[in-house]
Subunit: 127 residues, 2 copies
Amino acid sequence: MLQKHSKQREAILAELSARKDHPTADDIYTVLRKSHPNISLGTVYRNLSALADSGKILRLHNGKGSDRFDADISQHCHFKCTVCGCVSDFSADAGSVLPPLDRECFEGRIDGYSLMFYGVCEKCLQK
Amino acid sequence: MLQKHSKQREAILAELSARKDHPTADDIYTVLRKSHPNISLGTVYRNLSALADSGKILRLHNGKGSDRFDADISQHCHFKCTVCGCVSDFSADAGSVLPPLDRECFEGRIDGYSLMFYGVCEKCLQK
DNA sequence: ATAATATTAGTAACGATTATCGTTATTATT
DNA sequence: AATAATAACGATAATCGTTACTAATATTAT
């Protein structure tokens, strides 16, 4: 995986890094088709998966609906609006939300976590 | 939704309530076919979804792979083993893991959260 | 340049879930 | 208890997000 450079992967990572809205593979595909008319949706999926597997980006499992991706690989929390479906960073950093776990109470090995808040975003509340 | 009683829904809820392993829709379908040979997979999906929508059970989005369901509707955390894929309750209760949020720092409305830990379970560590 | 092969575009296939549709079961009404 | 209204069913087709396949292309090493 990721043994040779490719213009497509470079463009995918650049696009993801440039935005903060946690786009889906299809979101990125739609944008990149303007600059790369022949790019394939499969290429976008393949590269996003490879980048996530190698730890260069983060994959956000998003319940029902497509996975979303995040170029910010620091452990942080997300918020999903149950009305419009948008996913945003949760302003509080992970450390302040999640205190150190008491590892004594669990026998396995914890490598990480996914913390997603659900609710209604400011925009949808105003409507 | 859920306007009339049905034997199938009763059996689905009973089966889910009787176990603690967070089964998938297909897991439940496989078991129930023994006692209800004509039950349809669609019926299991439809009822689990309806029960989750009405708040009687919990749906656990499980990244890649099928959704899982939980008859314990209290807010609690889960642990997923990245080796065998099992999903178990996390022994620490939610309150001790997640402190009260500072609501001042967020403009929207938070209705709940989903907290899933990832790692390797005790059994898989021993192998 | 040449060779080796990772990556691509295009498309088919896949798994999980939902929708459709004619039939059956449940509930309310007579 | 029979009848009517309709929710829920079983069977299956359709959908959606994603992955797998294949021949062609691009990248890297020789």
